[in-house]
Amino acid sequence: MKRYILYRLLLVIPSLWAVFTFAFVLVRIVPGDPALAMLGDHASQEAVQELRIRMGLDRPLWQQYGAFLAELARGDLGRSLVTKRPIITDVAQVLPYTVELTFTGILLGVVLGVPLGVLSAVKRNSAFDHMARIVSLAGLSVPAFYLAILLLLVFSVSLGWFPVIGPVSDTGLKVRLHNLVLPGLSLGLMMTAYVMRMTRSTVLQVLTHDYVRSARAKGLAEMRVLRRHVLTNSLIPIVTLVGLHANYLVGGSVMTEIVFNRPGLGKLIVGAMFQRDYAVLQSLLVVYAVVVVFINLLTDLSYGIVDPRVRYE
Protein backbone atom coordinates (compact mmCIF):
# COMPACT_ATOMS: atom_id res chain seq x y z
CA MET A 1 0.00 0.00 0.00
CA LYS A 2 2.76 2.40 0.94
CA ARG A 3 4.49 1.68 -2.35
CA TYR A 4 1.28 2.42 -4.20
CA ILE A 5 0.88 5.76 -2.44
CA LEU A 6 4.49 6.71 -3.08
CA TYR A 7 4.28 5.72 -6.72
CA ARG A 8 1.07 7.62 -7.18
CA LEU A 9 2.46 10.72 -5.52
CA LEU A 10 5.53 10.64 -7.75
CA LEU A 11 3.25 10.47 -10.76
CA VAL A 12 1.96 13.91 -9.84
CA ILE A 13 5.12 15.57 -11.12
CA PRO A 14 4.86 14.52 -14.78
CA SER A 15 1.11 15.13 -14.64
CA LEU A 16 1.66 18.65 -13.42
CA TRP A 17 4.31 19.22 -16.04
CA ALA A 18 1.94 18.05 -18.76
CA VAL A 19 -0.93 20.30 -17.73
CA PHE A 20 1.36 23.28 -17.12
CA THR A 21 2.77 22.91 -20.62
CA PHE A 22 -0.73 22.64 -21.91
CA ALA A 23 -1.75 25.87 -20.17
CA PHE A 24 1.32 27.59 -21.59
CA VAL A 25 0.53 26.50 -25.15
CA LEU A 26 -3.16 27.20 -24.95
CA VAL A 27 -2.81 30.83 -24.03
CA ARG A 28 -0.34 31.39 -26.83
CA ILE A 29 -2.53 30.10 -29.64
CA VAL A 30 -3.75 33.62 -30.07
CA PRO A 31 -4.27 34.58 -33.67
CA GLY A 32 -2.45 37.84 -34.03
CA ASP A 33 -0.68 39.80 -31.36
CA PRO A 34 -1.97 39.32 -27.80
CA ALA A 35 -0.65 42.70 -26.67
CA LEU A 36 -2.51 44.39 -29.48
CA ALA A 37 -5.61 42.37 -28.65
CA MET A 38 -5.45 43.61 -25.09
CA LEU A 39 -4.92 47.28 -25.84
CA GLY A 40 -7.12 47.56 -28.88
CA ASP A 41 -6.56 49.01 -32.31
CA HIS A 42 -6.17 52.61 -31.20
CA ALA A 43 -3.20 51.98 -28.97
CA SER A 44 0.12 53.57 -29.81
CA GLN A 45 3.04 51.54 -31.08
CA GLU A 46 5.05 52.31 -27.95
CA ALA A 47 2.29 51.14 -25.64
CA VAL A 48 1.93 47.89 -27.52
CA GLN A 49 5.67 47.32 -27.52
CA GLU A 50 5.92 48.08 -23.81
CA LEU A 51 3.15 45.58 -23.09
CA ARG A 52 4.83 42.97 -25.25
CA ILE A 53 8.00 43.35 -23.23
CA ARG A 54 6.04 43.06 -20.00
CA MET A 55 4.31 39.96 -21.26
CA GLY A 56 7.66 38.53 -22.20
CA LEU A 57 6.63 38.16 -25.81
CA ASP A 58 9.83 39.71 -27.13
CA ARG A 59 11.82 36.71 -25.99
CA PRO A 60 12.04 33.47 -27.96
CA LEU A 61 9.39 30.90 -27.15
CA TRP A 62 11.63 28.42 -25.40
CA GLN A 63 12.90 31.17 -23.12
CA GLN A 64 9.36 32.11 -22.23
CA TYR A 65 8.66 28.46 -21.48
CA GLY A 66 11.72 28.17 -19.28
CA ALA A 67 10.81 31.31 -17.39
CA PHE A 68 7.27 30.05 -17.01
CA LEU A 69 8.37 26.74 -15.48
CA ALA A 70 10.94 28.42 -13.27
CA GLU A 71 8.36 30.81 -11.89
CA LEU A 72 5.95 28.00 -11.21
CA ALA A 73 8.61 26.05 -9.39
CA ARG A 74 9.06 29.06 -7.13
CA GLY A 75 5.32 29.25 -6.60
CA ASP A 76 5.15 32.55 -8.44
CA LEU A 77 2.09 33.00 -10.60
CA GLY A 78 3.26 36.23 -12.14
CA ARG A 79 1.58 39.59 -12.10
CA SER A 80 -1.71 40.68 -13.54
CA LEU A 81 -1.28 42.65 -16.74
CA VAL A 82 -4.11 44.93 -15.71
CA THR A 83 -3.75 45.49 -11.97
CA LYS A 84 -0.03 44.67 -11.82
CA ARG A 85 -0.65 42.90 -8.51
CA PRO A 86 0.89 39.51 -7.90
CA ILE A 87 -1.67 36.99 -9.03
CA ILE A 88 -0.99 34.57 -6.25
CA THR A 89 -2.30 36.94 -3.60
CA ASP A 90 -5.62 37.28 -5.41
CA VAL A 91 -5.82 33.54 -5.89
CA ALA A 92 -4.95 32.78 -2.28
CA GLN A 93 -7.68 35.14 -1.15
CA VAL A 94 -10.48 33.55 -3.11
CA LEU A 95 -9.36 29.95 -3.37
CA PRO A 96 -10.89 28.84 -0.02
CA TYR A 97 -14.33 29.91 -1.18
CA THR A 98 -14.15 27.98 -4.41
CA VAL A 99 -12.77 24.96 -2.60
CA GLU A 100 -15.52 24.96 0.01
CA LEU A 101 -18.18 25.34 -2.66
CA THR A 102 -16.85 22.58 -4.89
CA PHE A 103 -16.26 20.28 -1.96
CA THR A 104 -19.81 20.81 -0.72
CA GLY A 105 -21.13 20.04 -4.17
CA ILE A 106 -19.18 16.81 -4.48
CA LEU A 107 -20.07 15.71 -0.96
CA LEU A 108 -23.75 16.38 -1.45
CA GLY A 109 -23.69 14.64 -4.79
CA VAL A 110 -22.17 11.48 -3.38
CA VAL A 111 -24.23 11.42 -0.19
CA LEU A 112 -27.50 11.82 -2.06
CA GLY A 113 -26.61 10.23 -5.37
CA VAL A 114 -25.22 6.86 -4.31
CA PRO A 115 -28.15 5.74 -2.12
CA LEU A 116 -30.68 7.01 -4.64
CA GLY A 117 -28.86 5.26 -7.44
CA VAL A 118 -28.72 1.98 -5.55
CA LEU A 119 -32.40 2.25 -4.73
CA SER A 120 -33.19 3.01 -8.33
CA ALA A 121 -31.25 -0.03 -9.52
CA VAL A 122 -32.72 -2.38 -6.97
CA LYS A 123 -36.23 -1.23 -7.73
CA ARG A 124 -35.66 -1.35 -11.44
CA ASN A 125 -38.56 -0.24 -13.66
CA SER A 126 -40.67 0.73 -10.67
CA ALA A 127 -42.41 4.09 -10.49
CA PHE A 128 -39.62 5.34 -8.29
CA ASP A 129 -37.04 4.25 -10.82
CA HIS A 130 -38.75 6.00 -13.70
CA MET A 131 -39.16 9.18 -11.71
CA ALA A 132 -35.57 9.04 -10.58
CA ARG A 133 -34.29 8.58 -14.10
CA ILE A 134 -36.27 11.49 -15.46
CA VAL A 135 -35.20 13.73 -12.61
CA SER A 136 -31.57 12.78 -12.93
CA LEU A 137 -31.59 13.36 -16.69
CA ALA A 138 -33.15 16.75 -16.08
CA GLY A 139 -30.46 17.46 -13.53
CA LEU A 140 -27.82 16.62 -16.09
CA SER A 141 -29.46 18.74 -18.77
CA VAL A 142 -29.99 21.87 -16.77
CA PRO A 143 -27.41 24.57 -17.41
CA ALA A 144 -25.48 25.38 -14.26
CA PHE A 145 -26.65 28.95 -14.02
CA TYR A 146 -30.29 28.05 -14.46
CA LEU A 147 -30.49 25.75 -11.47
CA ALA A 148 -28.79 28.43 -9.43
CA ILE A 149 -31.31 31.03 -10.63
CA LEU A 150 -34.25 28.74 -9.90
CA LEU A 151 -33.04 28.10 -6.39
CA LEU A 152 -32.47 31.81 -5.94
CA LEU A 153 -35.97 32.52 -7.18
CA VAL A 154 -37.65 30.05 -4.88
CA PHE A 155 -35.61 30.34 -1.71
CA SER A 156 -34.42 33.92 -1.78
CA VAL A 157 -36.85 35.96 -3.77
CA SER A 158 -40.06 34.19 -2.89
CA LEU A 159 -39.44 32.62 0.50
CA GLY A 160 -36.77 35.00 1.70
CA TRP A 161 -34.93 32.29 3.59
CA PHE A 162 -31.60 33.29 2.15
CA PRO A 163 -30.26 36.66 1.11
CA VAL A 164 -29.98 37.26 -2.60
CA ILE A 165 -26.48 38.61 -2.30
CA GLY A 166 -24.93 37.47 0.91
CA PRO A 167 -21.66 38.54 2.48
CA VAL A 168 -19.21 35.68 2.33
CA SER A 169 -15.84 36.94 3.42
CA ASP A 170 -14.77 38.15 6.85
CA THR A 171 -17.84 36.84 8.57
CA GLY A 172 -18.51 34.30 11.23
CA LEU A 173 -18.86 30.60 10.55
CA LYS A 174 -22.63 30.59 10.85
CA VAL A 175 -23.14 33.31 8.26
CA ARG A 176 -20.64 31.72 5.98
CA LEU A 177 -22.38 28.37 6.16
CA HIS A 178 -25.72 30.05 5.66
CA ASN A 179 -24.48 31.62 2.46
CA LEU A 180 -23.04 28.31 1.32
CA VAL A 181 -26.39 26.54 1.35
CA LEU A 182 -27.96 27.68 -1.90
CA PRO A 183 -24.80 27.65 -4.04
CA GLY A 184 -23.81 24.31 -2.53
CA LEU A 185 -27.24 22.93 -3.21
CA SER A 186 -27.08 24.16 -6.77
CA LEU A 187 -23.83 22.36 -7.48
CA GLY A 188 -24.75 19.42 -5.31
CA LEU A 189 -28.00 18.70 -7.11
CA MET A 190 -26.24 18.63 -10.47
CA MET A 191 -23.68 16.25 -9.05
CA THR A 192 -26.41 14.12 -7.51
CA ALA A 193 -28.07 13.72 -10.88
CA TYR A 194 -24.87 12.41 -12.39
CA VAL A 195 -23.87 10.19 -9.48
CA MET A 196 -27.36 8.72 -9.26
CA ARG A 197 -27.30 7.80 -12.91
CA MET A 198 -23.84 6.28 -12.80
CA THR A 199 -24.53 4.40 -9.61
CA ARG A 200 -27.70 2.98 -11.06
CA SER A 201 -26.06 1.63 -14.19
CA THR A 202 -23.06 0.30 -12.26
CA VAL A 203 -25.20 -1.47 -9.69
CA LEU A 204 -27.41 -2.90 -12.43
CA GLN A 205 -24.32 -4.40 -14.03
CA VAL A 206 -22.98 -5.76 -10.76
CA LEU A 207 -26.34 -7.31 -9.96
CA THR A 208 -26.00 -9.50 -13.04
CA HIS A 209 -22.78 -11.04 -11.80
CA ASP A 210 -22.71 -14.64 -10.67
CA TYR A 211 -21.49 -14.02 -7.17
CA VAL A 212 -24.64 -12.05 -6.39
CA ARG A 213 -26.70 -14.99 -7.51
CA SER A 214 -24.56 -17.29 -5.36
CA ALA A 215 -24.93 -15.03 -2.35
CA ARG A 216 -28.67 -15.03 -2.72
CA ALA A 217 -28.72 -18.78 -3.26
CA LYS A 218 -26.78 -19.18 -0.05
CA GLY A 219 -29.76 -17.63 1.66
CA LEU A 220 -28.21 -14.34 2.66
CA ALA A 221 -30.59 -11.53 3.52
CA GLU A 222 -30.95 -9.06 0.67
CA MET A 223 -29.52 -6.17 2.67
CA ARG A 224 -26.42 -8.16 3.41
CA VAL A 225 -26.03 -9.14 -0.21
CA LEU A 226 -26.33 -5.52 -1.17
CA ARG A 227 -23.84 -4.26 1.33
CA ARG A 228 -21.22 -6.92 1.18
CA HIS A 229 -21.22 -7.88 -2.45
CA VAL A 230 -23.03 -5.38 -4.60
CA LEU A 231 -21.98 -2.10 -3.07
CA THR A 232 -18.35 -2.94 -2.52
CA ASN A 233 -17.94 -4.07 -6.09
CA SER A 234 -19.76 -1.06 -7.43
CA LEU A 235 -17.55 1.36 -5.59
CA ILE A 236 -14.59 1.21 -7.95
CA PRO A 237 -16.37 2.40 -11.08
CA ILE A 238 -18.37 4.85 -8.98
CA VAL A 239 -15.21 6.36 -7.52
CA THR A 240 -13.72 6.64 -11.00
CA LEU A 241 -16.77 8.37 -12.39
CA VAL A 242 -17.17 10.68 -9.41
CA GLY A 243 -13.57 11.72 -9.86
CA LEU A 244 -14.12 12.41 -13.55
CA HIS A 245 -17.23 14.39 -12.92
CA ALA A 246 -15.67 16.34 -10.10
CA ASN A 247 -13.56 18.03 -12.74
CA TYR A 248 -16.72 18.97 -14.54
CA LEU A 249 -18.10 20.36 -11.30
CA VAL A 250 -15.15 22.71 -11.01
CA GLY A 251 -16.38 24.27 -14.24
CA GLY A 252 -19.92 24.43 -12.92
CA SER A 253 -18.71 26.24 -9.84
CA VAL A 254 -17.70 29.14 -12.06
CA MET A 255 -21.30 29.69 -13.10
CA THR A 256 -22.62 29.22 -9.60
CA GLU A 257 -20.18 31.76 -8.25
CA ILE A 258 -21.26 34.26 -10.86
CA VAL A 259 -24.96 33.87 -10.16
CA PHE A 260 -24.59 34.03 -6.39
CA ASN A 261 -21.96 36.71 -6.62
CA ARG A 262 -19.58 34.73 -4.48
CA PRO A 263 -15.86 35.47 -4.40
CA GLY A 264 -13.90 32.72 -6.01
CA LEU A 265 -11.77 31.60 -8.91
CA GLY A 266 -14.80 31.84 -11.18
CA LYS A 267 -15.08 35.56 -10.80
CA LEU A 268 -11.34 35.95 -11.30
CA ILE A 269 -11.32 34.01 -14.52
CA VAL A 270 -14.33 35.78 -15.97
CA GLY A 271 -12.75 39.11 -15.08
CA ALA A 272 -9.54 38.06 -16.79
CA MET A 273 -11.51 37.03 -19.82
CA PHE A 274 -13.19 40.37 -20.28
CA GLN A 275 -10.01 42.30 -19.75
CA ARG A 276 -8.03 39.86 -21.90
CA ASP A 277 -5.52 39.65 -19.10
CA TYR A 278 -3.52 36.76 -20.52
CA ALA A 279 -1.25 36.54 -17.51
CA VAL A 280 -4.14 35.96 -15.13
CA LEU A 281 -5.77 33.62 -17.62
CA GLN A 282 -2.64 31.50 -17.87
CA SER A 283 -2.13 31.44 -14.13
CA LEU A 284 -5.72 30.50 -13.45
CA LEU A 285 -5.42 27.70 -15.97
CA VAL A 286 -2.44 26.55 -13.98
CA VAL A 287 -4.46 26.72 -10.76
CA TYR A 288 -7.32 24.75 -12.31
CA ALA A 289 -4.78 22.28 -13.63
CA VAL A 290 -3.42 21.76 -10.13
CA VAL A 291 -6.95 21.25 -8.84
CA VAL A 292 -7.63 18.68 -11.54
CA VAL A 293 -4.40 16.79 -10.86
CA PHE A 294 -5.21 16.89 -7.18
CA ILE A 295 -8.70 15.49 -7.70
CA ASN A 296 -7.29 12.71 -9.88
CA LEU A 297 -4.75 11.98 -7.17
CA LEU A 298 -7.48 11.71 -4.54
CA THR A 299 -9.47 9.43 -6.81
CA ASP A 300 -6.52 7.14 -7.37
CA LEU A 301 -5.59 7.10 -3.70
CA SER A 302 -9.11 6.18 -2.74
CA TYR A 303 -8.76 3.06 -4.89
CA GLY A 304 -6.35 1.99 -2.20
CA ILE A 305 -9.16 2.15 0.30
CA VAL A 306 -11.89 0.78 -1.87
CA ASP A 307 -10.10 -1.96 -3.77
CA PRO A 308 -8.27 -4.42 -1.50
CA ARG A 309 -6.34 -5.82 -4.46
CA VAL A 310 -4.48 -2.55 -4.74
CA ARG A 311 -3.59 -2.63 -1.08
CA TYR A 312 -1.88 -5.98 -1.12
CA GLU A 313 -0.02 -5.62 -4.35
Partner: protein, 273 residues
Protein backbone atom coordinates in the same frame (compact mmCIF):
# COMPACT_ATOMS: atom_id res chain seq x y z
CA UNK B 1 -33.15 -1.52 -34.98
CA UNK B 2 -35.78 1.13 -35.51
CA UNK B 3 -38.22 -1.16 -33.69
CA UNK B 4 -35.93 -1.34 -30.69
CA UNK B 5 -35.74 2.42 -30.68
CA UNK B 6 -39.48 2.90 -30.78
CA UNK B 7 -39.94 0.54 -27.89
CA UNK B 8 -37.98 2.87 -25.61
CA UNK B 9 -40.51 5.52 -24.70
CA UNK B 10 -37.97 7.99 -23.40
CA UNK B 11 -35.98 7.82 -26.61
CA UNK B 12 -39.03 8.37 -28.74
CA UNK B 13 -39.98 11.27 -26.52
CA UNK B 14 -36.52 12.66 -27.06
CA UNK B 15 -36.81 12.32 -30.79
CA UNK B 16 -40.21 14.02 -30.89
CA UNK B 17 -38.99 16.82 -28.64
CA UNK B 18 -35.88 17.28 -30.75
CA UNK B 19 -37.91 17.45 -33.93
CA UNK B 20 -40.27 19.96 -32.33
CA UNK B 21 -37.45 22.16 -31.17
CA UNK B 22 -35.59 22.05 -34.47
CA UNK B 23 -38.82 22.73 -36.33
CA UNK B 24 -39.67 25.70 -34.17
CA UNK B 25 -36.18 27.08 -34.68
CA UNK B 26 -36.39 26.69 -38.43
CA UNK B 27 -39.90 28.08 -38.45
CA UNK B 28 -39.09 31.03 -36.24
CA UNK B 29 -39.65 33.66 -38.95
CA UNK B 30 -43.14 32.29 -39.48
CA UNK B 31 -44.05 31.25 -35.94
CA UNK B 32 -42.84 34.29 -34.04
CA UNK B 33 -45.74 36.67 -33.32
CA UNK B 34 -43.52 39.75 -33.19
CA UNK B 35 -40.18 41.12 -34.30
CA UNK B 36 -37.65 39.94 -31.73
CA UNK B 37 -35.56 43.08 -32.04
CA UNK B 38 -38.24 45.74 -32.08
CA UNK B 39 -38.42 47.88 -28.96
CA UNK B 40 -41.80 48.79 -27.54
CA UNK B 41 -40.83 51.07 -24.74
CA UNK B 42 -44.44 51.61 -23.81
CA UNK B 43 -44.92 47.96 -22.93
CA UNK B 44 -41.85 47.09 -20.91
CA UNK B 45 -41.83 44.17 -18.50
CA UNK B 46 -45.36 43.09 -19.22
CA UNK B 47 -46.56 39.92 -17.55
CA UNK B 48 -47.44 37.02 -19.83
CA UNK B 49 -50.72 37.88 -21.51
CA UNK B 50 -52.63 37.45 -24.76
CA UNK B 51 -50.60 40.17 -26.43
CA UNK B 52 -47.28 39.02 -25.07
CA UNK B 53 -47.63 35.30 -24.68
CA UNK B 54 -44.56 34.88 -22.51
CA UNK B 55 -44.29 38.47 -21.42
CA UNK B 56 -42.10 41.30 -22.57
CA UNK B 57 -38.62 42.27 -21.54
CA UNK B 58 -36.96 45.48 -20.40
CA UNK B 59 -37.19 47.01 -23.88
CA UNK B 60 -40.70 45.81 -24.55
CA UNK B 61 -39.57 43.02 -26.85
CA UNK B 62 -41.77 39.93 -27.03
CA UNK B 63 -40.19 37.10 -25.07
CA UNK B 64 -41.81 34.31 -27.08
CA UNK B 65 -40.47 35.65 -30.35
CA UNK B 66 -37.05 36.09 -28.84
CA UNK B 67 -37.11 32.55 -27.56
CA UNK B 68 -38.00 31.21 -31.00
CA UNK B 69 -35.28 33.24 -32.69
CA UNK B 70 -32.90 32.54 -29.86
CA UNK B 71 -33.49 28.87 -30.45
CA UNK B 72 -32.28 29.38 -33.98
CA UNK B 73 -29.05 30.91 -32.76
CA UNK B 74 -28.45 28.41 -29.99
CA UNK B 75 -29.22 25.40 -32.16
CA UNK B 76 -27.10 26.76 -34.98
CA UNK B 77 -24.15 27.13 -32.66
CA UNK B 78 -24.78 23.78 -31.02
CA UNK B 79 -25.09 21.75 -34.19
CA UNK B 80 -22.39 23.56 -36.16
CA UNK B 81 -19.85 23.19 -33.40
CA UNK B 82 -20.48 19.45 -33.20
CA UNK B 83 -20.21 19.07 -36.96
CA UNK B 84 -16.93 20.98 -36.86
CA UNK B 85 -15.75 18.93 -33.90
CA UNK B 86 -16.43 15.76 -35.86
CA UNK B 87 -14.47 17.10 -38.82
CA UNK B 88 -11.53 17.88 -36.56
CA UNK B 89 -11.65 14.98 -34.15
CA UNK B 90 -12.61 11.94 -36.19
CA UNK B 91 -9.76 12.10 -38.73
CA UNK B 92 -7.31 12.55 -35.87
CA UNK B 93 -8.74 9.62 -33.98
CA UNK B 94 -8.90 7.32 -36.99
CA UNK B 95 -5.34 8.22 -37.88
CA UNK B 96 -4.16 7.51 -34.36
CA UNK B 97 -5.97 4.20 -34.19
CA UNK B 98 -4.82 3.13 -37.60
CA UNK B 99 -1.19 4.15 -37.31
CA UNK B 100 -0.78 2.97 -33.74
CA UNK B 101 2.65 3.12 -32.18
CA UNK B 102 4.10 6.47 -31.28
CA UNK B 103 1.67 8.61 -33.26
CA UNK B 104 -1.14 7.03 -31.34
CA UNK B 105 0.54 7.33 -27.95
CA UNK B 106 1.42 10.99 -28.30
CA UNK B 107 -1.88 12.00 -29.81
CA UNK B 108 -3.81 10.28 -27.07
CA UNK B 109 -1.67 11.77 -24.38
CA UNK B 110 -2.52 15.24 -25.65
CA UNK B 111 -6.17 14.27 -25.81
CA UNK B 112 -6.05 13.00 -22.25
CA UNK B 113 -4.58 16.22 -20.90
CA UNK B 114 -7.12 18.16 -22.91
CA UNK B 115 -10.01 16.16 -21.56
CA UNK B 116 -8.91 16.41 -17.98
CA UNK B 117 -9.77 20.08 -17.89
CA UNK B 118 -13.36 21.11 -17.14
CA UNK B 119 -15.13 21.77 -20.44
CA UNK B 120 -16.44 25.13 -19.36
CA UNK B 121 -12.99 26.39 -18.41
CA UNK B 122 -11.66 25.25 -21.77
CA UNK B 123 -14.56 26.99 -23.45
CA UNK B 124 -13.79 30.20 -21.57
CA UNK B 125 -10.14 30.09 -22.52
CA UNK B 126 -10.81 29.42 -26.20
CA UNK B 127 -13.41 32.12 -26.44
CA UNK B 128 -11.01 34.61 -24.88
CA UNK B 129 -8.12 33.55 -27.07
CA UNK B 130 -10.10 33.45 -30.29
CA UNK B 131 -12.04 36.62 -29.72
CA UNK B 132 -15.72 37.59 -29.81
CA UNK B 133 -18.28 36.71 -32.42
CA UNK B 134 -20.49 33.80 -33.34
CA UNK B 135 -17.98 32.12 -35.68
CA UNK B 136 -15.32 32.13 -32.99
CA UNK B 137 -17.81 30.76 -30.49
CA UNK B 138 -18.57 27.83 -32.77
CA UNK B 139 -14.85 27.26 -33.28
CA UNK B 140 -14.19 27.43 -29.55
CA UNK B 141 -16.87 24.89 -28.67
CA UNK B 142 -15.77 22.66 -31.54
CA UNK B 143 -12.23 22.68 -30.17
CA UNK B 144 -13.49 21.76 -26.72
CA UNK B 145 -15.55 18.84 -28.02
CA UNK B 146 -13.25 17.45 -30.71
CA UNK B 147 -11.08 15.38 -28.31
CA UNK B 148 -14.14 13.33 -27.40
CA UNK B 149 -14.68 12.44 -31.04
CA UNK B 150 -10.98 11.75 -31.46
CA UNK B 151 -11.05 9.31 -28.59
CA UNK B 152 -14.17 7.60 -29.83
CA UNK B 153 -12.86 7.33 -33.37
CA UNK B 154 -9.56 5.95 -32.15
CA UNK B 155 -11.18 3.30 -29.98
CA UNK B 156 -13.48 2.14 -32.73
CA UNK B 157 -10.68 2.16 -35.27
CA UNK B 158 -8.53 -0.01 -33.04
CA UNK B 159 -11.37 -2.48 -32.71
CA UNK B 160 -12.24 -2.50 -36.38
CA UNK B 161 -8.65 -2.95 -37.48
CA UNK B 162 -8.79 -6.37 -35.96
CA UNK B 163 -11.67 -7.40 -38.16
CA UNK B 164 -10.91 -9.65 -41.04
CA UNK B 165 -12.14 -7.60 -43.90
CA UNK B 166 -9.53 -4.99 -43.15
CA UNK B 167 -6.84 -7.61 -43.50
CA UNK B 168 -8.52 -8.83 -46.64
CA UNK B 169 -8.65 -5.34 -48.09
CA UNK B 170 -4.99 -4.86 -47.41
CA UNK B 171 -4.25 -8.20 -48.99
CA UNK B 172 -5.91 -7.12 -52.22
CA UNK B 173 -3.66 -4.11 -52.15
CA UNK B 174 -5.99 -1.33 -51.05
CA UNK B 175 -4.00 1.63 -49.82
CA UNK B 176 -4.37 3.05 -46.34
CA UNK B 177 -6.57 5.99 -47.16
CA UNK B 178 -8.98 3.79 -49.03
CA UNK B 179 -9.18 1.37 -46.13
CA UNK B 180 -9.83 4.15 -43.67
CA UNK B 181 -12.47 5.78 -45.77
CA UNK B 182 -14.34 2.79 -47.11
CA UNK B 183 -14.09 0.33 -44.28
CA UNK B 184 -13.47 2.07 -41.02
CA UNK B 185 -15.56 5.20 -41.32
CA UNK B 186 -18.86 3.54 -42.20
CA UNK B 187 -18.54 1.28 -39.20
CA UNK B 188 -17.99 4.12 -36.79
CA UNK B 189 -21.15 5.89 -37.87
CA UNK B 190 -23.43 4.30 -35.30
CA UNK B 191 -21.43 5.25 -32.24
CA UNK B 192 -20.70 8.59 -33.83
CA UNK B 193 -24.40 9.37 -33.98
CA UNK B 194 -24.83 8.57 -30.31
CA UNK B 195 -21.97 10.77 -29.18
CA UNK B 196 -22.95 13.49 -31.65
CA UNK B 197 -26.43 13.70 -30.20
CA UNK B 198 -25.15 13.84 -26.65
CA UNK B 199 -22.52 16.40 -27.52
CA UNK B 200 -25.02 18.66 -29.29
CA UNK B 201 -26.73 18.75 -25.90
CA UNK B 202 -23.43 19.65 -24.29
CA UNK B 203 -22.67 22.26 -26.95
CA UNK B 204 -26.02 23.96 -26.42
CA UNK B 205 -25.36 24.01 -22.72
CA UNK B 206 -21.85 25.43 -23.11
CA UNK B 207 -23.18 28.11 -25.46
CA UNK B 208 -25.86 29.01 -22.93
CA UNK B 209 -23.33 29.27 -20.13
CA UNK B 210 -20.95 31.37 -22.21
CA UNK B 211 -23.72 33.67 -23.40
CA UNK B 212 -24.89 34.05 -19.84
CA UNK B 213 -21.46 35.26 -18.77
CA UNK B 214 -21.51 37.64 -21.69
CA UNK B 215 -18.96 35.91 -23.87
CA UNK B 216 -21.52 34.72 -26.32
CA UNK B 217 -21.81 35.45 -30.00
CA UNK B 218 -23.99 38.46 -30.49
CA UNK B 219 -24.96 41.52 -28.54
CA UNK B 220 -28.40 42.50 -29.77
CA UNK B 221 -29.65 39.28 -31.31
CA UNK B 222 -31.22 36.96 -28.79
CA UNK B 223 -29.78 33.68 -27.70
CA UNK B 224 -31.25 31.81 -24.78
CA UNK B 225 -28.17 32.46 -22.69
CA UNK B 226 -28.00 36.19 -23.13
CA UNK B 227 -31.75 36.49 -22.61
CA UNK B 228 -31.24 34.97 -19.18
CA UNK B 229 -28.36 37.33 -18.64
CA UNK B 230 -30.45 40.41 -19.34
CA UNK B 231 -33.35 39.05 -17.39
CA UNK B 232 -31.55 38.36 -14.17
CA UNK B 233 -31.57 41.96 -13.06
CA UNK B 234 -35.35 41.75 -13.02
CA UNK B 235 -35.45 38.49 -11.13
CA UNK B 236 -37.69 39.79 -8.39
CA UNK B 237 -40.06 41.78 -10.56
CA UNK B 238 -40.17 39.88 -13.83
CA UNK B 239 -38.97 36.33 -13.28
CA UNK B 240 -40.39 35.12 -16.57
CA UNK B 241 -37.52 36.85 -18.35
CA UNK B 242 -35.07 34.29 -17.05
CA UNK B 243 -37.30 31.34 -16.33
CA UNK B 244 -38.63 30.82 -19.86
CA UNK B 245 -35.35 31.07 -21.78
CA UNK B 246 -33.78 28.77 -19.21
CA UNK B 247 -36.62 26.33 -19.66
CA UNK B 248 -36.03 26.40 -23.40
CA UNK B 249 -32.37 25.53 -22.85
CA UNK B 250 -33.37 22.75 -20.47
CA UNK B 251 -35.80 21.20 -22.93
CA UNK B 252 -33.40 21.42 -25.86
CA UNK B 253 -30.57 19.84 -23.92
CA UNK B 254 -32.92 17.23 -22.49
CA UNK B 255 -34.25 16.39 -25.94
CA UNK B 256 -30.82 15.70 -27.42
CA UNK B 257 -29.76 13.80 -24.30
CA UNK B 258 -32.83 11.57 -24.45
CA UNK B 259 -32.32 10.92 -28.13
CA UNK B 260 -28.65 10.14 -27.61
CA UNK B 261 -29.46 7.83 -24.73
CA UNK B 262 -32.05 6.05 -26.80
CA UNK B 263 -29.62 5.61 -29.66
CA UNK B 264 -27.02 4.27 -27.28
CA UNK B 265 -29.42 1.76 -25.77
CA UNK B 266 -30.31 0.59 -29.24
CA UNK B 267 -26.66 0.16 -30.23
CA UNK B 268 -25.64 -1.71 -27.12
CA UNK B 269 -27.11 -5.22 -27.15
CA UNK B 270 -26.12 -5.91 -23.54
CA UNK B 271 -28.58 -3.42 -22.17
CA UNK B 272 -31.56 -5.35 -23.47
CA UNK B 273 -31.36 -7.48 -20.32
Amino acid sequence: MWRAFTRDRAAVGGLILTVLIVASAIGAPVLAPADPLEHHLGQRLERPSRAYFLGSDGYGRDVLSRILWGGRASLLVGISSVVLAIMIGVPMGVLAGYARGRTDAWLMRVVDVFMSFPTLIMGLVFVTVLGPGERNLIMAIALVLSPQFARLARGSTLAICGWEFVEAARAIGANDVRIMARHILPNILGELMVIASLLVATAIRIEANLSFIGMGGSAEAPTWGNMAREGIQFLGTAPWLTVYPGLAILFAVLAFNLMGDGLRDVMDPRLHA
